[in-house]
Symmetry: C2
Subunit: 139 residues, 2 copies
DNA sequence: TTTACAAATCGTAATCATTACGATAAAATA
DNA sequence: TATTTTATCGTAATGATTACGATTTGTAAA
């Protein structure tokens, strides 16, 4: 998903295009990185001083529900990114900068048979560490 | 880790044994289940009306730091369980009751080579769904 | 067993992320 | 431009967690 596709989806579904919504998409337009709600809020605050939490969180949920964004819980805080889901995959996530790298491997292929009478509804597989750039900065 | 081992570890490390600490261990003594801080607090409140949050959370962290408990973030809330870590493994977690089942399979074996110049510091693999008991209750 | 003191707990307030709501403003379209 | 629906504002509430000075309690030495 990119900014253009997201705008198209919103108008298709009858949502109004506001400057705030567009700028939220701009903020997320890097497709390979997770952000916190806080960092989004700070960005929006810099453009729209005094912007309401309501606006930021409501639109975050809207985007998430529409599949424009995907999210993950890190340190008991939600992190969001552009949905990059064409087909099922997982992520390496840099614990320093939030950048991600796709992992084209899913452990579930082997797990189903280990969990015979358990009804599987979902799973999470993430790898954490430092991306090459942050390793350089840390050394 | 079981209750007896935990008590031994605490006294070894010079921590004082209080009734509250013992009862927290009792609460967690099922080795195959995750609990929220809230559910622990409610249990402790039933025994010690008016018990302080401080006591509950401080001891949760203590137990976690000592390796008596392990934790995971589910729905942006921390869940705790007795540490069952003799050797590395993962869990199926029932989204209804919190019960767990070991998964003796780790995807990292295959992942290392996919992430050549990324410095891996940790990973999370969990499977969610309904355990056999909760499937029966749900039907 | 009392005493002494470090450690644990209490009572309560603060913090952080998130959610919620009535009043107002703005986008879409007729 | 007028109308209507939706979005946003301003702000307060909620839920999980953390923090702190005052008080109490375990523990070990006298």
């Amino acid at each position: 998903m990119n900014k253009k596709q997201a705008i198209q989806l919103l108008s298709q579904r009858g949502y109004k295009m506001t400057k705030r919504r567009k700028d939220m998409l701009t903020f997320f337009s890097h497709e390979d990185k997770y952000y916190t709600a806080k960092s989004l809020y700070e960005y929006m605050e810099s453009i729209y001083p005094g912007i309401s939490f309501d606006t930021v969180y409501r639109n975050l949920h809207l985007y998430h529900d529409l599949g424009i964004l995907e999210s993950t819980d890190l340190d008991a805080e939600k992190h969001f990114r552009m949905n990059c889901g064409t087909q099922h995959h997982h992520h390496f996530i840099c614990s320093q900068c939030g950048k991600t790298k796709k992992i084209n491997l899913c452990p579930m292929d082997d797990v189903h048979e280990l969990l015979g009478n358990y009804q599987i509804e979902g799973h999470k597989f993430e790898v954490y560490g430092l991306c090459p750039e942050c390793q350089v900065l840390a050394s």
